[in-house]
């Protein structure tokens, strides 16, 4: 599958996706957030408008298409964005958590759960690839990556539930 991206000065961006049967899906993302979806039957044909979505709705539809809400068949051929069973989990460190004040090294979350913290989000600050000496605080949002089950363990450990 090839996706062509091009700029539309003053309007936004255009993505063209080849559908395999010779037709193309064209998605115009306006700077306002509006998405317009077109289909072009042949490369030379005029684009036919299929639908138009506001920003929020477009994101929701996108998530459904991605399979985040529902995966019809759990098999090798259906993969999440990261491939296989790997997922990304967002977890906030609650107030009064044991983790508040400890470093990542001390908490040793990877050994405990099998999920690896890749980002610590603290307000406006983003700590990427945090080291063992990174101190955790209540209110931080941790991004962990790992197998689905490990991420579930991770979530319950951090939230203390």
């Amino acid at each position: 599958m090839t996706v062509y991206e091009s700029d539309l000065p003053g309007v936004g961006k255009k993505h063209e996706i080849e559908l395999g049967d010779g037709s193309q899906l064209v998605i115009v993302t306006h700077n306002t957030g509006k998405r317009e979806v077109f289909r072009r039957a042949t490369p030379d044909a005029d684009s036919e408008k299929l639908l138009e979505l506001p920003d929020q709705l477009a994101r929701q539809v996108g998530t459904i298409l991605e399979g985040a809400y529902f995966q019809p068949v759990r098999s090798q051929s259906i993969e999440t964005l990261l491939g296989g069973d790997t997922v990304i989990e967002w977890v906030e460190v609650p107030e009064g958590s044991d983790l508040d004040g400890t470093t990542l090294g001390e908490a040793d979350l990877r050994q405990e759960t099998g999920a690896n913290v890749i980002v610590v989000q603290r307000g406006e600050t983003t700590i990427t690839n945090p080291g063992g000496d990174t101190e955790l605080r209540a209110g931080d949002t941790l991004l962990a990556v790992g197998p689905r089950e490990a991420c579930q363990t991770f979530e319950s450990l951090v939230t203390g539930e």
């Binding site: 000065p9 700077n31 317009e36 684009s47 408008k49």
Partner: protein
């Protein structure tokens, strides 16, 4: 001084609101309609009919000026040097084809009418510059935006935007610089000196622009943007430099910050309000009888410059390897002239002599009315135009 009262401002908003509603119903661009309602509300029409009318006083002129500044500011905001460089070969080729055909034809028409070189150059600019606002809206309305022809069309518009910034800087000096080569050289030096400084500030001032706008609440955000933009534009004007070009550069300065989208979202409404006032003001200043008096240059310009845009656009499409049919659409798509032709006319009105103060502004209004309508119709009826053009072509080919 002519008084411009709150009541008259009220009339203005009623008029442009009605024009906007009419435009939406008829599927026409609002820009020419704002100008037309302005003309109706002017002393020349409403005044003569004994109806309440709006006088083009200093206050209205000032508000219209803010409209020009915001229009060009948004142009700068949207204008990305990186984008131009990324697609530079295609955009430049299409843009050069566009300018070498359409600017000279206007200058030649002006000179043939016996106008001075500066007057002819103003005419050249008016017929050269296509309307980004009208064309972009038509592209979206017709769904062409998802087709291949949208790229050369938008690319050419970007090229024109850059040209118009340089053009306005030069022409402002020519119009306002006074007589004599010495004073002209001085005003050109001031213009390019100031704009050069501004460009350096823009190039290296990303952090400054970012820091100024680093605020959460929408109100201080909008006020700070205007607090940077309006003083710089005003200062430029006070030293005889185009306020529009200064605004364009400030826009470019803000475009490199992470606040670009937020500015567009927050200020688009303000721009639309002041732009509507600007178009209305253009109308209020226009005596329809002068437009009629400009009928000869107007007819010549329409007959010559509609086809030249189609031709230059066609070859622009060819640069992008489009099929003949789509290349023709590029040409049809670029026919509409609008806001920037009127900005040039507003500049001309500040000059001296009846050609600049009366004829060119009246010409520009008539020209924009015709070309924006013609351009929109040509785009809407492109199928018929295609059949017409290509059938004729095959017949000629067969006859050979």
């Amino acid at each position: 001084m002519v008084e411009f009262s709150l009541l008259e401002l009220g009339e203005l908003f009623v008029a442009v609101a009605v024009a906007g509603a009419l435009g939406a119903r008829l599927g026409l661009s609002v820009i020419p309609l704002y100008v037309v309602v302005g003309m109706f509300a002017s002393p020349f029409v409403a005044g003569r009919l004994g109806l309440p009318y709006v006088l083009p006083g200093e206050t209205l002129t000032l508000l219209a000026e803010v409209g020009i500044v915001l229009l060009l500011f948004f142009l700068g905001l949207e204008f990305s040097l990186d984008r131009l460089l990324a697609a530079k070969t295609n955009i430049t080729r299409a843009g050069v084809i566009d300018i070498v055909i359409n600017l000279p034809i206007g200058v030649v028409i002006g000179l043939a009418l016996g106008w001075s070189f500066v007057e002819a150059l103003l005419l050249g600019g008016i017929v050269y510059i296509s309307s980004s606002a009208i064309i972009t809206k038509s592209l979206i309305d017709l769904g062409w935006i998802a087709n291949a022809e949208s790229e050369p069309i938008l690319g050419t518009l970007v090229f024109e935007d850059l040209v118009i910034a340089v053009y306005l800087a030069v022409v402002t000096s020519l119009v306002l610089g006074g007589d004599g080569l010495g004073s002209l050289a001085r005003s050109l030096a001031i213009a390019f000196g100031f704009l050069g400084l501004l460009l350096v500030a823009v190039q290296y001032g990303t952090r400054f622009f970012s820091a100024v706008l680093d605020v959460q609440d929408p109100e201080p955000f909008v006020l700070r943007t205007l607090g940077v933009l309006i003083p710089i534009a005003g200062f430029a004007l006070s030293i005889g430099v185009s306020e529009a070009v200064a605004a364009f550069f400030v826009g470019m300065g803000f475009s490199t910050t992470e606040h670009r989208e937020r500015i567009e979202r927050r200020l688009v409404g303000i721009r639309d309000v002041f732009a509507a006032i600007f178009f209305f003001w253009i109308g209020v200043n226009t005596d329809p009888r002068l437009v009629v008096a400009a009928a000869v240059p107007l007819a010549i310009a329409v007959v010559l410059t509609a086809p030249t845009k189609v031709i230059s656009g066609y070859y622009g499409g060819q640069v992008y390897d489009l099929t003949p049919k789509r290349s023709l659409r590029v040409g049809l798509g670029l026919v509409s002239r609008g806001e920037f032709s009127l900005v040039i006319a507003a500049l001309a009105a500040q000059g001296t002599g009846t050609v600049m103060t009366e004829l060119i502004p009246a010409f520009a209004v008539g020209y924009v009315l015709v070309m924006s309508t013609l351009g929109t119709v040509l785009m809407g009826e492109s199928d018929r135009v295609e059949t017409l053009v290509f059938r004729t072509k095959t017949e000629t080919a067969a006859a050979d």
